[in-house]
């Protein structure tokens, strides 16, 4: 257990050094800290969505695009009917849960057939649903001029502004200004409500079954638990939370990103959760919060630093390297641990 904490501490120190260097170089850090706080709920829901499948012993949900696309479909549908404001956003959430429930059932049926290789199968399922969604975006008969290409009159634009619809609708609830820093209290509160819901689910019978399944599948079968049913619940739950995640993300970002945009989200989420100190069989909500803060803190601070020090393109590359190296290291450790168990 101690080894995993080491990784977290190294990155935490790295973040603190970055903050110190930013101060030294005269970069105003207050807006950056605000940005870091906003990114917690913005990306934290994606990280949360990994938990049910991780705890049910299926590894990281690299098939997150399934849930994300369900969310994107519901946002664009609601926008097409021009339902705006809080009422619209509630419609979006409801529709997201419905669509991602259906998608999650289908996704789960395929994934259960590939037991033991869920990560790689999920990855390719996620990747293959993206071109399917692209076909949907091209053909879908929506006619809201905000969303479709202006000249052709059909086909969705790759990047749709949410202004006048749900732009920053949760983020703006009850913001407090303290010493030049905007603290989005309502937004954080909304995120914590989602966290509490997940926490309650894990404390309930369903969640306890998932944890048991993650510990030992063969034992669960003997105890008379239907492992496929529990797996299905976990997959559907993960997909629904991922769908809600894109709603949180889009309203904060201010744009709806379609086509190939959902590709990389799952990897950064997995990386954030690993930084938070989860093992590959078990993670909790504290891991999610700490991991998201450190991971996105590093990203937020690396942008102005990279601009000052070297080239602008660096940030995207740094993000990619950081994300993937962390996942790679986690894979090392996990396999090593399994070997030790076998020896014992």
């Amino acid at each position: 257990m101690k080894k995993f904490k080491l990784q977290k501490n190294v990155l935490l120190i790295f973040l603190l050094v970055m903050i110190a260097v930013s101060c030294y170089m005269g970069i105003p850090i207050r807006p950056l800290l605000t940005d870091m706080l906003i990114r917690l709920p913005m990306n934290g829901v994606f990280v949360l969505s990994l938990l049910p499948m991780l705890n049910a012993g299926m590894g990281f949900n690299f098939g997150m695009p399934v849930g994300i696309i369900a969310g994107l479909i519901s946002i664009s549908t609601v926008m097409n009917f021009e339902i705006t404001g809080v009422k619209g956003f509630l419609c979006v959430l409801l529709l997201t849960i419905l669509i991602s429930f259906v998608f999650g059932r289908i996704y789960g049926r395929i994934l259960i057939k590939a037991s033991g290789t869920e990560e790689i199968t999920g990855n390719f399922l996620g990747l293959s649903i993206i071109p399917l969604s692209c076909i949907l975006w091209v053909t879908i008969p929506f006619d809201n001029p905000v969303m479709v290409f202006p000249i052709a009159g059909k086909g969705m634009r790759p990047k749709i502004g949410l202004e006048g619809y749900f732009d920053k609708i949760i983020e703006k609830i009850f913001q407090i200004k303290i010493g030049g820093m905007m603290i989005p209290v309502g937004y954080l509160l909304c995120f914590f409500i989602v966290c509490v819901i997940i926490y309650i689910i894990f404390k309930s019978n369903i969640g306890q079954n998932m944890l048991a399944l993650g510990e030992n599948e063969a034992y669960c079968e003997i105890m008379g638990l239907q492992s496929n049913k529990i797996k299905m619940t976990a997959i559907v739950l993960s997909t629904i939370i991922a769908g809600v995640g894109i709603c949180f993300y889009s309203q904060s970002y201010g744009y709806l990103e379609l086509y190939n945009a959902p590709k990389a989200i799952a990897f950064s989420a997995a990386s954030a959760l690993l930084i938070g100190g989860c093992t590959e069989h078990n993670g909790n909500i504290l891991n999610v919060i700490v991991g998201t803060l450190i991971f996105h803190g590093i990203l937020v601070f690396s942008v102005p630093l990279a601009n000052e020090l070297v080239a602008t393109e660096l940030t995207e590359i740094t993000r990619s390297i950081l994300t993937n190296v962390i996942i790679l290291f986690a894979m090392f450790k996990e396999t090593k641990k399994e070997k030790n168990v076998e020896k014992a």
């Binding site: 690299f62 290789t117 790689i120 053909t139 790679l328 894979m331 396999t335």
Partner: protein, 343 residues
Amino acid sequence: MLKKLKSNRIPLLFIILSVIGYIVSGMSLNFVMSEVVTRILRNSVMVLSLIVPIIAGLGLNFAISIGALAAQTAILFVLNYGLEGYPALLAVVLLSTILAVAFGYVIGAILNRVKGREMITSIIIGYIGISIYQLIFMVGFGTIIPATNEKLLLKSGLGIQHVVNLESLGGIIDDCLKFEIWGIKCSVLNLVIITVVSLFIFYLLRSKLGINMKAVGESMDKSQSLGIDVNKMRIIAIIISTVLAAYGQIMYLQNVGMLSVYTAQSNREIFSSAAILAGGAGIKNANIRNVFLGLFLFHFLFIVSPLAGQTLFSSVAIGEYFRTFISYAVICLAIIFNVKENI
């Protein structure tokens, strides 16, 4: 009969889709064939590089994109020092071999530490490699690495241009002793290279080394108790794969004639894997027949699908998205079939 049908279900699916696509698109057979042959010549070495890791039980090696990067790095360095013609080609081959052996060793060592989940790890290794490569040529070139060829640099003096013309290297293999049959262009050197690589793999798999690799692929524990060095076999398999992937990328780039420095390697591993699976290979078994059948079927579908989309839905984009979907879905299907067969 039924069993044979079952083991060939992915090729059958491709044949059905290709025939439908061909009829709908209404392209001339001659045009499609000449396009398909060009693409087979261009991609076959890359796809051949996937066989050895599959035999050695490592599954699909998505880290062949690292081999492609080795080739691109070699080409950029050779262009930087201003070599031309066949000496340049020789230098590229030599340099990319050295790089690919080194990279292959590292990848093999990493994959030996994550036994049982090699495929997802190789995807992540590929991503890391691409990021580091982009970092080197965006920032390191012109600063740490001295640029002797000013034409390669961006105007800011930092980083390499997005598209680089290969100049004398472009088409260097294609133009050597070229001939034409039924409007299909082909060159002797091209065919010789593909034959040599195919024969190399064919005899490798029947040599002592290849038989040991097969044993490792069947069961690591049993091979260990037979005294085979499992880790070494796996590393050798990955090194061979990476080197062949580098050669594959050289073949590809010289045919295209220019190098998109930052994006030429993208999706090469996905399309190559999809091609070999389309030919009926599995996650645990593959042979040379699979490669060429797969290349033919995959690229046939790849060429007809945009036009088929155009006639069916009056949109080229739909056909393009459809073929991307097919390449990912085939890999997914193959993994699921493999799990089922093991149970």
